[in-house]
Symmetry: C2
DNA sequence: TAGAAAAAGTTGGCTACACAACTTGCCTCC
DNA sequence: GGAGGCAAGTTGTGTAGCCAACTTTTTCTA
């Protein structure tokens, strides 16, 4: 076997990732650099395997990743076609406003409007899988890009994570990063997106008229064992962000739902 | 090898699907029936393989599907955990308003406001990968649930598919189904979601005030070779639909974007 | 020359095995 | 009782090979 350009199977070196992940990252760069042209064709799995010194199975794993991210098609009988250079974001960037803003080259900001502990409502008990009578921490924060208010974030943490958040400075930026550092592991998240009219609190904080249509994102994140870590309702001013999803016939992640969640 | 309950490897029988798809469908039913309980644990891959008479690889393929749909977690060292009974939709339901409405038990409706052929704009030439000076078909339709207007759909088809659509009755329902029947194959789609204020056309058609925040979905669908089949901008009345996405740390399909697309 | 048939090339799907990395529970030892 | 370590169980990653299904190219034939 040939030692490959992406650093075959040496743990502890170069990011500690699996080979197929490194291969996927490497191929992503080539694709984004236009190596195969837009709408061009990828080399065959077999030749890629030989080129990188891995087995066809590993190449297929890597390509499945790129496929799920919408970079390439795949279809029996013919070579893979480059779909576009849709740069996808890391999972982290999706969960953390701060991480996302930085990746965009913007200065993220946060102003905590309030932060309190209280008994969980029935809905929260359900969503966070809490025991009856459990206590949650509710945080209301205004998020900024530069000095411009963009989003109002209402997050509910279960007691365990809430304790970590409760002790932070009111202008501290990323709660997600703090939780990450404290050992919490984010593994899955569910997002629901719709429009709601701004209420008086939204209007006051975001500086818009009451009734303005805000883009609402409800997110719920869980750890690898399926235990809910947070539940959040974020309301964005119109025109500040959009969400985009890639879907393929083999795997469909996006769903359209009736009415309000 | 034992002949399995899901119909092992006999093409032409029972839906013509791959084994791992049938297995996934079968397990989805079990999960949704609460066979393993909510937050319960799945049997090990090995025991599933034995139970269904397939190899572990096939079981892993099936579980990867369920994982991508957010039904189960997975994590090295411990059994898979049931996340929830998140019923996902077929790819078809996401592309076709008609199919989606029917699956919700609602009566879909459509009223064509106009349908015309014209030269493509620069943006459309880019999005649909057309040659300069190509002709597109633009269709503006009001979509209903029951008798209630819900969405205004502005779709642009390239010449080839547009020809099929142009010859339809103004009240015909699903353009997607017609295209499907005419041999077009939808394989991938890209969706962007944000909010826009209703303009005078929107307000008139949907019966809302001008400036009302509408949920906008921009979709672009391609065939297996990556050739664009349609480009559409749909504007939903607030409160009528929401979109939901599942993401996991291993594969993330959703992205947050800056400003308008 | 045009159309049909054959051949070659490519991805999808499945099996089998091996080892690595991680979690969990049990057992021992202090 | 508690802490630590050990062993078993489980999923992740990688390899190798086989055939099926499908597309594209080439070749043959009328």
């Amino acid at each position: 076997m040939i030692e490959s350009a992406v650093g075959a199977g040496r743990p502890g070196v170069a990011g500690e990732k699996a080979q197929y992940r490194k291969l996927a990252a490497s191929m992503r760069l080539e694709i984004e650099a236009g190596e195969f042209g837009n709408n061009g064709r990828l080399p065959s799995e077999e030749s890629l395997a030989e080129q990188y010194g891995v087995s066809r199975g590993t190449v297929r794993n890597a390509l499945a990743l790129l496929r799920a991210n919408g970079l390439v098609t795949s279809r029996r009988g013919t070579r893979r076609v480059v779909l576009g250079t849709a740069r996808t974001q890391s999972f982290q960037e999706l969960l953390s406003f701060t991480a996302w803003a930085r990746a965009q080259g913007e200065e993220p900001g946060a102003r905590t409007l309030h932060c309190l502990s209280r008994p969980a409502s029935a809905a929260e008990t359900e969503a966070l899988q809490l025991d009856d009578g459990a206590v949650v921490t509710e945080v209301l924060r205004l998020r900024l890009l530069g000095r411009v208010p963009v989003m109002l974030e209402r997050t509910v943490y279960p007691e365990r994570t809430g304790a970590v958040i409760g002790g932070l400075a009111p202008d501290s930026l990323s709660h997600t990063e703090v939780l990450d550092a404290s050992g919490a592991v984010f593994a899955d998240s569910e997002h629901t997106i719709d429009v709601v009219p701004a209420d008086s609190v939204d209007a006051g904080a975001l500086g818009c008229a009451e009734g303005t249509g805000l883009l609402r994102e409800i997110r719920r994140a869980t750890d690898p064992a399926g235990v809910p870590l947070l539940w959040s309702e974020d309301r964005f001013l119109p025109g500040t962000v959009s969400f985009s999803v890639h879907n393929s016939a083999s795997v469909s992640a996006l769903a359209r739902r009736r009415g309000r969640p």
